[in-house]
């Protein structure tokens, strides 16, 4: 079973995404902010991270950079989740090392496709 780490500060969005992914057969762990996300990435060693960009004090791009700076978690693919379909957000996400980019509200079939694509070993 593949493990997905969701880093999302909004409780409803976190809960909703967790339940939908669990229903599709994934194991889900979740973090409410950037520092907790970095910690969980190292301890849970998920197959992929779904990272909300707007996280408060430490944003999702900084958290992604920190995850990739740690040799133990550098290999974990990160998909950025943002509220806006802005070209600048997409570029920034690629610059900090995200493998993909998805806008909210999440289109689940599309997200599942991307998760499978980036967790092929």
């Amino acid at each position: 079973m593949k493990t997905i780490l969701i880093v999302e500060d909004n409780e409803m969005n976190r809960d909703m995404l967790t339940r939908r992914l669990e229903r599709k057969g994934y194991a889900v762990v979740s973090a409410v902010d950037g520092p907790q996300g970095i910690e969980l990435a190292a301890s849970a060693m998920p197959d992929i991270v779904l990272m909300d960009v707007a996280l408060g004090e430490m944003d999702g791009w900084e958290a992604t950079t920190a995850i990739h700076a740690n040799p133990a978690t550098a290999h974990i693919p990160v998909i950025a989740l943002t509220a806006h379909a802005l070209e600048s957000d997409r570029q920034k996400s690629i610059e900090v090392g995200c493998v993909d980019f998805e806008t909210k509200p999440i289109a689940l079939p599309q997200l599942l496709e991307k998760i499978e694509q980036h967790t092929q070993h």
Partner: protein, 464 residues
């Protein structure tokens, strides 16, 4: 009426004088005024001045070389305007002109009566011309004034020391004395009146310039304030959009999740209700995105990201996105003609938004029939003619114009059945891409909405 006629006369005279004045002098108001005075003096001065030697010849007072020298030294003034036009050396010519005048007057005084000469009053115009021709600062005018007083002092000294001036019968000079005084007075009057007129015109001109500068400053301030207000509005809308999206994401996500569950449990009634919630949430989200896009474009916060790409490939993706937006029983059909290139340089994301909003707007204008899209590849542009066809095959016009929203923006939603924001956005996106959307009649006589998106190569070259 007289005032107008005076202005016209003055204008014609000024235009005549300006013919001789180089453009670089005309652009400096004070220098221009001095140059005009110089011209006036050199055009009309010789006419007044030469009445004196001509009178002396006609009346047989004197017909020798003294008069010839006098006559030609005055006539020489007519050369100055042409030399100025040719060389542009105003200051040098002004200096030489005063030298010329000093010679003229002192020669006439020397040749015709010394300090008793009727031409002596002309000495008074030396300093006048020095003041009128040259600017109040600078060494040239000081040198000239020193020279004027030096020359006059030398002349008077010569006379006082009994220097033998040529003989002239002063009795025969009485009439010429009166003519000379009259000419001097007339010359003074002409120069003074013209100077006063020019001075007044210059003041009015300066006042007008100041008024225009003030208006321009006000407009600049208003534009800055409007831009700031527009940017503030865009920031507010962006902030509001984010705040609205977060709960909306939860509504859409939860309803979708519950919908999946309802389908799995075969609870059709629940699935139907959840479908309504999901659709309403999605519609609301699209509306928020539309308002955000509109606000961003208005505030100039939506930068272009042009790329050269294949038209046909993009059209296929566009149609797939548009079809779900068209409510049954309406449908969309697309025909593509490729007489031109299949590649275009544009911002494809903005182009897709233009197409999507335009199609959604047109499709929402009526509740039946089809929307036929003719896509024509033209070299240097992508052209689309969109026909709204009724159930009986009749072509129907859809009013699309910027004015529709500018004059009737508040009412557009109610008046155009919810298509207002879609069409307004299509127009905004098309304008951003330097394109256009217009209501036309095609060659087969059918009304259509025409979208033109140009290749941005030339625009980018100009911007670079």
């Amino acid at each position: 009426m007289n005032g107008t006629a005076d202005r016209q006369r003055s204008f014609s005279l000024s235009r005549f004088l300006d013919y001789f004045i180089p453009a670089e002098i005309q652009v400096r108001p004070e220098a221009h005024l001095r140059a005009r005075m110089f011209m006036l003096s050199h055009v009309f001065g010789p006419i007044l001045g030469n009445t004196l030697p001509l009178y002396m010849v006609v009346m047989n007072i004197c017909r020798d070389n003294r008069v010839t020298v006098f006559f030609f030294s005055i006539l020489l003034f007519w050369a100055y305007p042409f030399v100025l036009r040719k060389t542009g050396r105003y200051q040098l010519l002004a200096f030489l002109s005063v030298q010329n005048l000093i010679f003229c007057v002192l020669w006439a005084c020397y040749a015709f009566g010394g300090t008793q000469s009727p031409f002596l009053p002309w000495i008074l115009i030396f300093p006048l011309l020095a003041f009128l021709y040259l600017p109040p600062v600078g060494w040239v005018r000081n040198v000239l004034l020193a020279q004027i007083f030096g020359s006059v002092a030398a002349f008077l000294t010569l006379d006082a020391t009994g220097y033998p001036f040529p003989h002239i019968d002063l009795d025969g000079m009485q009439t010429i004395g009166m003519i000379s005084m009259g000419s001097v007075a007339l010359y003074f009057a002409m120069m003074s009146l013209y100077f006063a007129k020019m001075f007044q015109e210059q003041r009015e001109f300066t006042r007008e310039i100041n008024s225009l500068v003030s208006t321009s400053d006000n407009l600049r301030n208003l534009t800055t304030a409007a831009n700031q207000a527009s940017a503030a509005k865009a920031d507010f809308v962006a902030g509001m959009s984010h705040e609205l999206r977060t709960p909306l994401n939860a509504i859409i996500g939860y309803s979708q999740m519950l919908l999946e569950e309802a389908h799995e449990e075969e609870n059709d009634e629940m699935a139907k209700d959840l479908g309504y919630v999901h659709k309403a949430g999605s519609d609301l989200l699209r509306l928020i995105d539309d308002i955000l896009d509109y606000s961003r474009i208005e505030a100039g916060k939506m930068p272009l990201n042009p790329a050269r790409d294949c038209i046909t490939k993009n059209l296929e993706a566009w149609v797939a996105k548009v079809e779900p937006l068209v409510k049954a029983p309406r449908s969309v059909s697309i025909r593509e003609y490729q007489p031109g290139e299949n590649w275009l340089l544009t911002d494809w994301s903005a182009a897709e938004s233009t197409f999507r909003h335009l199609l959604a707007g047109i499709a929402g204008y009526h509740n039946d029939g089809t929307v036929e899209v003719e896509v024509i590849h033209v070299n240097g542009a992508l052209l689309m003619n969109i026909h709204d066809v009724g159930p009986a095959g009749e072509a129907r016009a859809v009013p699309v114009s910027q004015e529709m929203f500018e004059h009737d923006g508040d009412a557009s939603s109610s008046k155009y059945g919810g298509t207002g924001i879609e069409l307004a956005l299509a127009l905004k996106f098309a304008a951003m891409l330097k394109g256009s959307i217009e209501a036309i009649v095609t060659t087969d006589g059918r009304p259509a909405t025409q979208l033109i998106l140009p290749d941005l190569s030339n625009q980018l070259k100009k911007a670079a």
